[in-house]
């Protein structure tokens, strides 16, 4: 096991109160495996990703749980130990490449910075390595001497991918890597990520609100909502055999990039306020299948089949749920509570 996250809680301070952004999240990552975190904006997936590198904003209120990498808890390490792990073992592809690079240094300077912070490596060796990666992602070598503002969005994203790979990390975190790009480039980048993954053999944690992106690239998927995991299973099971109404709803709501036409059904309503999370199931207010028991007590994550966890107490009624969920009226008739 490469990475193990146990009972992670991350809370933020705001002027209106403490936001419980991530509330008791646990998962693990094996070598060579891709994990997808899918959920709508504000569900906490970005927070989970950033917490792995211990990147917290100034208004952090509470962090508990463990993030274990190679037997050490990242959350408890000294700053020096953390610095050694950052980027070298675990790196990140940012959401918006346009803002992720320092505008006053060239691409070359910034990628070199990543390399030279961690390894004693000569300039020519470093250059060779970078060239190799540039060719891999399809960037012209001449672009190295350019400044970030001289590259297009797609090129910048590729440059960021190179920067994330250059230290040959074991884990790559990709936080909404395609959200800021147009669809054509998005497809392009996704293909490259897949190819790279075959070649590089690093593990990835990919977060996205677009479930089709996750479907294309990940082995295991965690569906996140309002700071908690709603469902956690292999990609095949999540898409072929979903147990949580939210998962089902998500799949209905997204167009498939491959093009099979279907009617999109939106999930009515908004995610709950995380300053005072509602008692019981957090999705209940928008769920067409809720019962009284759903709001009475917080539902736990249970194993509905081997290696498949779901936070829904109505898993026994799953066949009926699936049948009704494919019908538009089910979702439209939902009364928000």
């Amino acid at each position: 096991m490469l990475l193990e996250v146990k009972n992670l809680k991350v809370y933020y301070k705001t002027t209106k109160g403490t936001v419980q952004a991530v509330d008791d999240v646990s998962f693990s990552l094996e070598e060579g495996e891709n994990l997808g975190l899918v959920g709508e904006s504000g569900c906490g997936k970005t927070t989970v990703v950033k917490t792995i590198l211990r990147l917290f904003p100034t208004n952090i209120a509470h962090v508990s749980g463990t993030v274990e990498y190679s037997g050490q808890n990242i959350l408890q390490m000294t700053f020096d130990e953390l610095s050694r792990i950052r980027w070298k073992e675990i790196s990140m592809i940012p959401q918006s490449a346009m803002n992720a690079l320092d505008p006053v240094y060239t691409i070359e300077e910034q990628i070199l910075e990543a390399l030279q912070t961690h390894d004693e490596i000569s300039y020519s060796e470093a250059l060779q390595k970078i060239y190799g990666l540039f060719d891999l992602v399809g960037l012209e070598r001449s672009r190295l001497k350019d400044y970030p503002h001289q590259l297009s969005g797609g090129m910048l994203q590729r440059a960021c991918i190179v920067m994330a790979l250059v230290c040959s990390p074991k884990i790559i975190l990709a936080d909404e890597p395609t959200t800021a790009l147009d669809v054509v480039v998005q497809d392009n980048i996704l293909q490259r990520i897949n190819e790279l993954h075959k070649k590089i053999r690093a593990s990835m944690i990919l977060s996205s609100h677009d479930i089709s992106v996750i479907a294309e690239t990940c082995d295991r998927v965690a569906v996140m909502y309002a700071g908690q995991f709603m469902e956690y299973a292999s990609s095949r099971k999540i898409f072929g055999n979903p147990f949580h109404p939210y998962t089902v709803g998500l799949q209905q709501a997204f167009p498939n990039i491959k093009g099979t036409k279907k009617k999109l059904i939106a999930i009515k309503g908004y995610p709950p306020n995380l300053i005072n999370p509602p008692r019981g199931c957090r999705f209940a207010s928008r769920c067409p299948f809720r019962k009284e028991a759903c709001v009475a007590k917080d539902p736990p994550l249970v194993e509905v089949e081997p290696l498949h966890l779901s936070r829904c107490i109505r898993s026994d009624a799953i066949d009926e749920i699936r049948r009704r969920a494919s019908m538009e009226e089910t979702w439209e008739r939902t009364e928000l509570s």
């Binding site: 990147l55 792990i85 006053v104 503002h149």
Partner: protein
Amino acid sequence: MLITLFLLVTIVFLMFRFLPGDPLAMYINADMPVEVQKALMQRFGLDKPLHEQYLLYLKNLLVGDFGQSFHYGQAVIYLVAERFWNTIILMGIGIGLAYVMGCILGALAAWKRGSKFEVISIILTLSIRSAPLFWIGIILIMIFGMWLNLLPLGGIREAGIKITSTFEKFFSLDFLLHMILPATTLAIYYMGTPFLIMRSAMLEVMNEEFIEIVKAKGLKTWQVIFKHAMRNSLLPVITMLTVMISFVMGGQVMLETIFRWPGIGMEIVSAVNTRDYPMAQALFIMMGVIILIVNFVVDLLYHYLDPRVTYE
């Protein structure tokens, strides 16, 4: 930029011409012998109509002819040149120090947002900035010159010392000792502005995404602060210099007066007091020129500081 210079000298021309009293007093002192007066009138066309005088004035400026100093009896241009270097060196070092200290402190204050350090440094620099420069100088003279008797009270070097070379002029220990107090006064006083600007620019930069990525790359904290956050905050700080320099010249006047530093600041007060108009005029123009040079240098630095800025 040359237009500004042109307008500046024109304004000086008009300013000094509209003296309450005798326009001739600009170049001629009644104490001078009659032949000299006549010769000067000839040279500066003081008996000719205004527009001809103006053209002659410009022509003389180009050649560097600023007239004769009433007070010293020598060609103004040489007197100004000597004092120019005294001022530039002191000003350069003082302002340089102010900027370096201000930037570093400002970066630290921004990094330690909300800490006691930040609050104290803001109050301190603001308070110093609210005092007159000469008062800060007097306080320093009182402490270090008079009570502790550590440093000389003024002047540029010990009286009566023989100077054998230009090197000795500016690189001797004596010069250094004399320079410490005035340079420190300048540095402490002007530190406030780059400090405040660096701090507010940093606060904005620190929220940018690339700073987080730089942290994620595993860089040490000081590298994040200085190599990335501060570097991106430099542009507004440096551009502020173009605004500040106009006030800095005034500051030089006060500073040099207090410390008896023979530069163009002290000289301009003396020139105005002794009604040495050629000197006053030339010194004023010189100050304008220095301001223009600083503007020019900042313009050059622009592109280096921010690659996104292109020249038109």
